[in-house]
Symmetry: C2
DNA sequence: CCCATGTGTTAAACTGTTTAAACACATGAA
DNA sequence: TTCATGTGTTTAAACAGTTTAACACATGGG
C-alpha cells in the first residue's frame, strides 16, 4: 500500500479511500491511483482490513455435535446454499461444530468476541443446546436454520413442516390408510413437533385418533428408523403405512420392512421428509416431502449478512414445501393385515 | 493486552511472551501475568496475531465446481475427518469452491497471497484443473486428497484404488462372473484409471479380456450410472455383473436394472466403490469397496499442518481399502442371459 | 475585502499482536 | 577492580490497513 501511495504521489490514506470508494476523492486522483494499483497488482490484506474495520467478512456454520456431521445430505444441501450465496456476496464460510468441549471453552462466544466471524448460522440445533442463549443478550448476528424456539427470541428461517406434513398425511389417507405409524426424532425441536401435531390433527379429523403407541423415535438415522419400525410393527402388526420425519429414517424403515419380507408399497406404504437427492434412486423410490434446503441456506445467508450490516428487524421466514409422489406409496391393502 | 500489561506492571511484550510460553520469562513473572490474564478474562485477538505472525491457523477445503458440492457423502466424510482433526489441533476450516470465476479472479492464489489461509486441501480435483499448477512453483502448502498426478509434483493422500478394485473383481469372478460391465468416470483421474487398469488386468489374467464396449462413463452420479447401465445393457444384454466406480453410480445402476424388471442380484450383480453410509440401507444392500474417507481427511489434515509448520519432505500416502460383501452380489446365473 | 462554505488531501492515531535488538542488572573469572 | 557472560525485561519497529481531525485551497456572498 505504501508503494502504491508513493508511486501515485498521494498519501496512504488516499489509497485507502480510493479502495473503499470514498466520494471525497476526485475522479482524477481516483483514476491515477487505480492505475498504479493495477500496475503493481496490489491487493489489500484482509487481515489488516479486518483488524481496523472490525468486520471479517466471514460467517460460521455451526453444526451439532454429531459424528461425521458433514457427511449428511440434509446439512450438505443447506451448506451448499450458504456457500454459494456467501461466495457471491464476498463472504467466506467457516465450519464449526458445537461439541461439548467447544461450548465448555466458550468458543461459540469467542467466535464473536475474538472477531473470528461476523455472524453465525446454526444448523440442526434444538432446545437442549443452551449455548444458544449466550447469543441473545449481546445481540450477536445469529440465524437459526430450519428450527425455531418458543423460549428464545432468535432469528430463524424454516421450512413449512406443518404444510408438508399435512400434504403427506392427506395423501396417505386418501389412499385409504388409517393405521399410520409415525417415526419422529428430537421432539423438543419445534419443526418436529409441528409434524407430530399435524399427524394427530389429521387423524383426529378423520375420526380415528392415534395414541402414543403409534409414534416412535428414530433419532434421524437409518438405524433408528429401522429400530423404530420394528417397535411399531411389534405393537401394530396391522399398520399399513409409515410416515417418517426424515428420509434417512424412511429408508431405514423400508430396509427393515424388506428384511421382514414385507413388500413396500404393496403391504406397507412409506413416506419420508426432506427429499434428499438419493431418495429418487432407492428401491422403491421414496415418496417424500420436498424441503427447499438449498434455498433455505441461500436465504439464511442473505438474512444473516443483512443483520451483520445493521438490519434490526427480526427474521422469521417460512418457506413452502410440497409432496413428491414416488414409488413407496400405494393404496392401502383392503384385506386383512 | 495493554490493560493486562499495566495491571501486571510489565510491558506488552512480556505479556505476549508469557502467552507464547517464551522460555526467557521467569517463573515469577509468568505466574503474575497469567493471574492478571485470568482475572481480566483477556483473550488475544487472532486477527492481530495473524497479522503479526503471518500464520492464520486456518485451512481451506477446496471443492470442485459441482452443483451442491457439499451435499455429497463422499466429500462429506472427508470434510468430517478434516474438521475433527483441524479442530483438535486448533485450526479453523474454511470452505471454497473452485468455480470458473473463482479461478479466473485468481482467488486460489489470493488464498495464500492475501493470507486467508495457511494451507489448502484439494478434494475431487483432476488433471483438467490447471489451477493446481499455480500452487507448485511458490511451493504453497497444498495436499491433494484422494487423487494424484503424474504431470504435477503435488503432495497427496489416496486410498488404494487398485487394491480395492482387485478385491471387488476377484469376488465377482469367483462367483462365476465373466461378462462384467464397468462404469467409471473422469478417466483423467489417476485413482479412477487404477480402477480401470485393474479391471482389464484381472479379466485378461482370467483369459477373457474386455474391450472398450464393456466400459461406460457414469459421471459419478446416480443419473449417469443409470444411463451408463442402459448403454451397457443395450450392447451386452448378456452381462451378469456391473462394477461401478462409486456407490452413487452403482445405486443408479440398480435403479435402472429394477426399472427394466431385472432382479439384483439374481440376474445381475452390482458392486460399488466408496461404502457410503446409506449403501448399507439400499434394497438390496450394496456390496462395495470400503474407502477410509474419514481417515483420509484426518491424515490429509495432519500432513497439511505439518507442511505449514515447515515439513519439507513430499507427502505421498496410500491407505488400504477392503471389500464389504452385502446383498447386491450373487453367483452368476448359470442358464441363458 | 473578509469570511463562510465546500472540496480534496494529508498526517497522525488506531486496530492488537510479534519480534529483534537493546538494555539493565547480577554473577563469576581474571 | 575490570571485563565478559548470562538472565530477564523493555523498547520500538514491524504487520497492513482504516479513520478522523486538520489543513490547504478555491469559490461565492455580503
Amino acid at each position: 500500500m505504501r508503494e502504491v501511495a508513493k508511486m501515485a504521489n498521494v498519501s496512504i490514506a488516499t489509497v485507502s479511500m480510493v479502495l473503499n470508494g470514498n466520494p471525497r476523492i476526485s475522479k482524477a486522483t481516483q483514476l491515477r491511483v487505480q492505475r498504479v494499483i493495477n500496475k503493481l497488482g496490489y491487493r489489500p490484506n484482509p487481515l489488516a482490513q479486518s483488524l481496523s474495520s472490525r468486520y471479517t467478512r466471514t460467517l460460521s456454520i455451526l453444526l451439532p455435535p454429531l459424528r461425521h456431521a458433514f457427511a449428511d445430505l440434509y446439512f450438505g444441501e443447506v451448506i451448499s446454499g450458504v456457500c454459494d450465496r456467501a461466495g457471491k456476496l464476498g463472504y467466506r464460510v467457516m465450519l464449526d461444530q458445537a461439541k461439548p468441549d467447544f461450548i465448555k471453552d466458550r468458543k461459540h462466544i469467542e467466535l464473536f468476541e475474538r472477531r473470528f466471524v461476523d455472524g453465525v448460522l446454526c444448523l440442526g440445533c434444538n432446545d437442549r443446546h443452551h449455548f444458544l442463549e449466550d447469543f441473545i443478550e449481546p445481540n450477536y448476528p445469529v440465524i437459526v436454520v430450519n428450527n425455531y424456539f418458543k423460549r428464545w427470541n432468535l432469528d430463524y428461517v424454516v421450512c413449512d413442516y406443518s404444510g408438508g406434513a399435512e400434504q403427506a398425511m392427506r395423501c396417505l389417507m386418501q389412499m385409504g390408510h388409517r393405521r399410520i405409524g409415525l417415526i419422529t426424532a428430537a421432539p423438543e425441536v419445534q419443526t418436529t413437533s409441528e409434524l407430530t401435531q399435524t399427524y394427530h390433527r389429521l387423524l383426529t379429523e378423520a375420526g380415528c385418533p392415534a395414541d402414543d403407541t403409534w409414534i416412535e423415535d428414530g433419532a434421524f438415522t437409518e438405524e433408528g428408523g429401522a429400530a423404530a419400525t420394528e417397535r411399531l410393527l411389534a405393537r401394530h402388526p396391522d399398520l399399513t403405512a409409515i410416515f417418517a420425519g426424515n428420509d434417512k429414517m424412511a429408508i431405514g424403515a423400508i430396509h427393515y420392512l424388506h428384511q421382514q419380507g414385507l413388500r413396500v408399497p404393496e403391504q406397507v406404504s412409506v413416506v419420508g421428509f426432506d427429499d434428499l437427492k438419493h431418495s429418487a434412486y432407492t428401491s422403491p423410490t421414496l415418496t417424500t416431502v420436498h424441503l427447499p434446503l438449498y434455498e433455505i441456506g441461500v436465504i439464511a445467508c442473505d438474512r444473516l449478512i443483512e443483520r451483520v450490516r445493521g438490519r434490526a428487524e427480526r427474521v422469521a421466514e417460512r418457506l413452502p414445501t410440497y409432496l413428491v409422489l414416488r414409488g413407496s406409496t400405494a393404496l392401502a391393502p383392503t384385506g386383512g393385515a
